[in-house]
Amino acid sequence: MESLAWEMVVKKTGKQWGSGLALLAAHARPDLLSFMQKRVNDQRIAEDLVQDSFLKFAEGGYDPVAANARPVLFGIAKNLLFDRLRKLRRERDLGLTGSGADMDNLHLLPSEAPSPEYMAEISQEFATVAQIVKAMPKRPRQVFTLSRMYGLTHQEIADRLGISRSMVEKHIMDAMSRFLQAMRHNGKKRG
């Protein structure tokens, strides 16, 4: 399975598969694939995203044996992930036809993948959000994830989980209240 995937990449780029890139792949591909699988929950889409990440890395001319090769690769992958997520959210929120879509609503669209600098700034808030996620009951957590990170409509979520639309709405409100309360409480503590 592994070798077949690499052949595909070589053909697409027409580049020689140097040992540097092979080394990066050996080191990072399993982790990257597992990273993607967890987040898109679909084997085929995950593999496509991983392939595209390596393609973009190769085409971008990045140095595969540089110290920052793995972070660069993951950065590319996260951007692809967010591109896809942004598309899903936009299609759901503004309607697939797009012709009536009000482009002033850009403020509703999620931003790009967060930069490393931004991530460093908010690492303390990670702990808060992570704690809330772990403490949340399963249903609100799943509904929130399906809405926010998979871009499903409330009806789609209701159908998948076998609950009513109003329950979906209630779970989303529940999840969001928990996050807001925790962030406010945390903000007060640090004063």
């Binding site: 990066l24 080191h27 990273f35 699988q37 090769a69 879509a101 690492s123 303390q124 996620v133």
Partner: protein, 343 residues
């Protein structure tokens, strides 16, 4: 009350209801217009919107982080109800690490065709205030913190690193054919694949495991009669040439924070903070007075310009920082009646 009616009201708490409506999949163009009108009603409404957006940004960022908690990804099979659950073929198989390490893991690695040359020890050093990441030829990553010196040597049959001084975080690529050993002071950490932090300063070593498990070996002892001290994720060992102490439950975020240019302190002594300041900055920091020795602090520091950091420090703690001769900074605790009461 319908949402369109609420679009003229100063009701910041309605932000949740708006968010639910706009992400429902059934919002109309009119709904979006109404929401814009609601935002224009008051700064409180806008602040509520910004607050929720901030939560979403943090959530998104956490979700994209490799260290995100597993619970974030649990949606059962709900997303593709018709697709069978796929089997994750993991390259890394978590195995118990015994004192003697050579465990053969099935499956070919791609290393076999690569020519990893036998090399003598190569030194890597960071200056005071510098941080750097190294990608080693075997695929492992070593993150070097301030004022650190390591030496490493990789071959087909073994991979060795010595932490001579300072602090480094290791993410070790799996290679059952070549065990990875990190020596700091009187002991070594022996692993096949995992992630851990090593600090070795002034004869005292701290090893904290963040992923997987390691065996802490004493090179002087025979590995067969003295089993290694096993450290699992979340555990840490502090040792010198003559003693060793193991702690079971370490706050891993605090240990990893330096890689994100932050320092976390939870009820730490001021002298601990000052020791760290001496590592990260070229000025010499000293404390003066008994009160300074007894002061416990809980805070987060951003590793940034020295002046800015010291400014933050003197705002958050009841201390005074004075400049002495030759680039020294003298820190003393303010007398009690001059401490401002936090709100």
């Amino acid at each position: 009350m319908k949402m369109s009616e609420r679009s003229e009201k100063n009701r910041p708490d309605d932000i949740l209801a708006w968010q639910v409506l706009l992400s429902s999949g059934t919002a109309t163009v009119e709904d979006h217009h109404d929401f814009k009108a609601w935002l224009e009603v008051s700064s409180e409404n806008r602040a509520a919107y910004e607050e929720v957006q901030h939560v979403f940004r943090v959530y998104d960022a956490l979700w994209a982080d490799e260290q995100a908690p597993e619970e974030m990804f649990d949606v059962g099979d709900a997303v593709h109800a018709s697709a069978p659950p796929y089997k994750l073929t993991r390259w890394f198989v978590p195995v118990a690490i015994a004192a003697c390490l050579l465990l053969v893991v099935g499956g070919a690695t791609l290393f076999s065709f690569l020519n990893v040359p036998k090399a003598p020890y190569v030194a890597e050093t960071t200056a005071v205030g510098e941080q750097r990441a190294l990608l080693l030829a075997d695929g492992s990553t070593v993150y070097l913190n301030t004022d650190t010196k390591i030496e490493y040597s990789l071959s087909d049959s073994q991979r060795n690193v010595k932490v001579l001084n300072g602090e480094a975080f290791f993410e070790i690529a799996k290679d059952p054919a070549a065990p990875f050993t990190v020596v700091a002071g009187s002991r070594g950490v022996r692993v096949i694949g995992t992630a851990f932090n090593v600090r070795f300063i002034n004869g005292v070593a701290d090893v904290t495991v963040t992923e997987g498990a390691v065996g802490l070996t004493d090179p002087e002892q025979n590995a067969r009669t003295q089993p290694a001290v096993r450290l699992e994720a979340g555990m840490a060992a502090t040792y010198t040439a003559s003693s060793i102490k193991v702690q079971p439950n370490i706050e891993l975020e605090a240990v990893k924070a330096w890689r994100y240019k932050k320092l976390f302190y939870q009820n730490a002594s001021l002298s601990h903070v000052v020791r760290d300041l001496n590592r990260y900055f070229s000025s010499e920091f000293k404390t003066v007075g008994e009160a300074a020795e007894n002061l416990r602090v809980t805070l987060i520091l951003n590793l940034e310009e020295e002046e800015i950091l010291l400014n933050t420090l003197s705002k958050q703690l009841p201390i005074r920082i004075q400049n002495g001769k030759n680039n020294t900074r003298i820190i003393s605790v303010l007398p009690e009646n001059s401490i401002s009461v936090p709100e």
